[in-house]
Symmetry: C2
Subunit: 450 residues, 2 copies
């Protein structure tokens, strides 16, 4: 495919940029028209690439895109999953260029979605185009592209239940994750699940003057800090009752296999600008993100947050809290356990609300499957080195749903790198990875046989 | 003065409203022109009321207003202190009417500054006007009105040092506090001091994806919560080393005297909408706000605080923290102790910054002074009941400075009520209190002799 990329490079970038320019932020109501616009653009791109059919499917939330090319019903069928929605762009002042006006700097594309997931899903469209146009395609290919991944995919599972036939396939192929490093290709064989909640702690029924009431009336920010602080103990263990009940402990052998992944602690700390890592006692950094659950506050706010000083004892404090789960932990159960625990530890002098946001289960993929083997061979060819099987810390909860509903395993060939800072300002995607990914995907088709 | 008020009521309100309409928020840069405008309006009002002279005095910050009428150098001199700056208006969506378009509803004026302190300082201008116009004034009266009280009065102390002669007086008279209740008049004989800081906790050098790093990299919001939580122990004691060293313990007799102030716990809780109060073990609610220091988080923010969910492990978390101090605690010392402590408890995996905002010392006024006695008599006449000496929980740090620089005691005749919710949305001031205050101030002049 190298030659095809060389010839079509500029067109590829211009097409990708046309997607990146659409601000398809799924969590913000104001971008609703952009979601529709982005979905329609994907339909155009799929049809131009060679799909027999492609359409926008409305849902209760943001629209889905489905398109396919049925080459021969007896051929293996690959279902490509991707998402066209992106994260919000704040803090917007930290971006060095417009998040929705892609720019190439130092060999990378800078834009919101450059990697996650517009850049990565676009590689699949172009690998497919290459196979079609060169007459090499010996598979049926289906694309399911959603607009709600960043908000927990509330619509896709239900749609998949009603369209099992349409989505019938032998493998779900996904590029929405990272490789270990530029020189260490890896294939994710497991992802963490997610439980995401918002909490609201209310003290007095109005904001008070902190001079008149300070010391006598519980301050909901202080109380929220106490409550959050109590959720994790000194050893990094989560204190929610029953939280670890369903966690499957890995065998020493499995832990040893995982520890084969190269990891340079000094490099890691330098990249993050930290003096020390911090996590659950008894586990390595890779284990802490790969095989252990965790709890993070993703946002907190309350009281006066403007310029200068305001002596207020606020009425309300809020936080967004998420827990990453490992396979066999059930997201709905964890959300329930959290809610029960958080209400139970609330002192009498405040009122507490827990609002579940979204969640999903983790999953594991057999590395002995034909698809894993094909991906391994393809990546070995592109990178000149055998990829490491890894476990991803992130969550694509909908993949666990699709796996359950369609009874098809997902395979995660991700080409992102840590340096891409997805979800953060200045999200980027290395051109090298972008083109290597296309090549590896085309090779996957060459080697994937049932 | 009752008759004079009756006759001039509408004019008084219209003049006050002209002040309230000026959005003189001292902490926000954008209101700089409004500060000047408000100061100029006060000069007009002072001159119209009968001052011999009144001018706007520029400072490094917001301008000061000074005006005076020297009736006879041998008469006692009253220095009226007030402030024309107001608190910010957020959360603005909770106001039932425009904060800067005063409205009378249910016998109260609703506007930012209706009470704190435009409404209260205005009573002094009108009592003064009455005394002048009726030919009753047997005092010299000076007004010092600043525009920086809500941001810690950074300019007034220096100005007072350079203008000691101009401010020479026998008593500093202030209305910027509350009475115990509508039916229980009180005179504040002490105020708490203040130390106000902002803290910044930095973890990784950029926002991270919480799935990829969660569990392995310290989250600065979680760390900030841990740190804040550790500042107060289970008994409500502040854990900062040396924090209580200079606190003077009250005698049992003094505590008994203070406990004379009527206090209805059920009413208090109902007013605030709380099930339980919370504070330092071993002290009553009035003691907790009157004679004990405390620590409150006035604001906290970090990570994603918008609509929906964002799975970010943020780089930075912030909080605004204030400590209310009791007389003999030194604000600068406490700020230093806080900073040292906060840095000392910061774990290796984060960086911590402490930015001091402003502060001031507390003070106590002798209740045997002629001024206190005059105020007591005036309030007894207006309310038909002897006022209770109380200790205020709030801070007017600049009064401690003025006391030190001018060697004159401040007397706090405040007519606010808890229901006025100053610093909060829907700040109000009861018309009844507004007019009773004018009357009491006029009577103060009648009874105040050296």
């Amino acid at each position: 495919m190298k030659h095809y990329i060389e010839t079509n490079k500029d067109r590829f970038l211009e097409e990708l940029f046309s997607l990146l320019r659409i601000p398809s932020v799924s969590s913000l109501e104001q971008h609703k028209p952009d979601m529709q616009h982005c979905a329609e653009r994907l339909v155009e791109l799929l049809l131009e690439a060679g799909a027999d059919e492609a359409s926008v499917y409305p849902t209760a939330g943001h629209p889905l895109v489905f398109g396919q090319k049925i080459t021969d019903p007896s051929f293996p069928t690959v279902l490509v999953y991707g998402h066209y929605d992106v994260q919000p762009i704040d803090p917007v002042e930290l971006w060095h260029s417009d998040p929705f006006e892609p720019e190439i700097r130092n060999g990378a594309i800078y834009a919101r979605g450059a990697n996650d997931d517009k850049g990565q899903l676009f590689m699949h469209i172009k690998a497919f185009e290459f196979m079609v146009r060169e007459g090499l395609l010996k598979h049926n290919v289906k694309f399911i592209l959603e607009g709600e991944e960043e908000i927990g995919s509330p619509s896709l599972a239900a749609w998949a239940m009603e369209n099992k036939e349409l989505l019938a396939s032998d493998i779900i192929l996904v590029s929405d994750t990272t490789m270990i490093s530029e020189t260490v290709p890896s294939i994710n064989c497991g992802m963490r699940g997610l439980s995401y909640v918002e909490v609201k702690v209310t003290g007095p029924n109005k904001d008070l003057h902190s001079g008149h009431y300070g010391g006598a009336v519980a301050n909901p920010i202080n109380v929220l800090c106490d409550m959050i602080s109590s959720l994790i103990d000194k050893d990094g263990h989560i204190t929610i009752k029953g939280f670890y009940d369903d966690v499957v402990l890995l065998s020493d052998e499995d832990r040893a296999k995982l520890s084969r992944a190269p990891f340079d602690m000094e490099e890691y700390k330098e990249f993050l600008g930290i003096n020390e890592v911090k996590g659950e006692a008894g586990y390595s950094t890779l284990e802490r993100t790969g095989i252990r659950p965790c709890l993070d506050v993703n946002g907190i706010w309350g009281g006066y947050t403007g310029e200068g000083a305001k002596t207020v004892l606020p009425s309300v404090a809020h936080a967004k809290i998420s827990m990453r789960l490992v396979p066999n932990q059930d997201s709905a159960t964890i959300t329930r356990l959290f809610s029960e625990h958080f209400r139970a530890i609330a002192p009498d002098y405040v009122k507490v609300e827990v609002i579940p946001h979204h969640g999903g289960d983790g999953f594991l993929i057999p590395i002995s499957s034909p698809a894993y083997k094909a991906a391994e061979r393809a990546m070995t060819e592109v990178y000149g080195i055998e990829p490491v099987p890894s476990r991803g810390g992130g969550s694509i909860p909908v993949l666990a749903d699709l796996q359950r509903i369609l009874k098809v395993d997902p395979l995660l060939m991700g080409f992102g790198l840590e340096r891409d800072t997805i979800h953060s300002p200045n999200e980027s995607y290395l051109l090298k990875q972008f083109f290597a990914g296309m090549e590896a995907i085309a090779l996957f088709y060459r080697y994937y046989r049932l």
